[in-house]
Symmetry: C2
Subunit: 199 residues, 2 copies
Amino acid sequence: MELLQEKIKQNGKVLSENVLKVDSFLNHQVDPILMQAIGDEFADRFRDCGITKVLTLESSGIAPSMMTALNLGVPFVFARKRKSLTLVNDLITSEVYSFTKQETNTIAISKEFIGPSDRVLIIDDFLANGEAALGLLDLVQKAEAEAVGVGIVIEKSFQDGGKKLRNQGIQVESLAQIRSLQAGRVQFLEEVQHETTTA
Amino acid sequence: MELLQEKIKQNGKVLSENVLKVDSFLNHQVDPILMQAIGDEFADRFRDCGITKVLTLESSGIAPSMMTALNLGVPFVFARKRKSLTLVNDLITSEVYSFTKQETNTIAISKEFIGPSDRVLIIDDFLANGEAALGLLDLVQKAEAEAVGVGIVIEKSFQDGGKKLRNQGIQVESLAQIRSLQAGRVQFLEEVQHETTTA
């Protein structure tokens, strides 16, 4: 997705060989026009899959999920990272380890909102080691719903989350695939493929 | 806002005289078409105020803020409830006590995204005791920006958050104002005013 790649090149900050900071347009300050374009793109890629629910994890997955769900005409559910007082009964839970925060969170959804008749599209902002996406997938499976696909805004293709998901036969659509963050520079997978083709 | 009141009547669950559960359409599962209508309504009410940023608090404020910001053509920022490893420098912070969760959280925004030239619209899902809105207001003031107004999806008018904000001269726009949750029933302020008028 060209608009997203441009935004990453212009406004993303490479903090290390593993960390890309995109908090000026995706996960702290949010560019709503970009989110609309992202939602339209996810909706197009999964349009014919009979999606009944979009599922994401608070908080950075909410804006792209909002726009995807609006376009597809279905509700979305955001999994909570821990229990609140008004959300204690009939929960489905999973454990997710965050390498960034170096902590394990319980993520939870209410049984009320995802069930056996649902065809679920999982959306998240980043895919790195796959912990969050696998946790969401676990929630969908425990709910006896069908996980139709996974939509990722930015995939760090040099980490193995994408491989783990694709090896399970799941359709993973990543709008930007980052091959490396070496030497302070963002290199996209598409660029490399293009360079190879035209070399 | 009639659409919202109907949704609350049909799908809201009164758990006690203080607690209204709206997790089927606002703060766990989210109805994107309702969020679009909410965003349009907030944008209309604050259209001529020269808003440059929308500010909210993760997570339930994100969907209505997304739609408001999209309509107004400005970015939105969601304050984080605690620090993450990629968000540690140049933070503006405030303390917010949650009566629901009975805990105090530090909320934070990056100085990079809200500054002295900004005219900020604060958006949140609920207004009860006003702790969250006052915390967001504190962030705006510490950033030396101007808080133009506060947009609330559901105000519990029988608690004093709205009064605290309005006493400071801030324009507060609440799309549904709940007068009471007594006897397991949601009574809106507008209904009471209407009943009084027509009595």
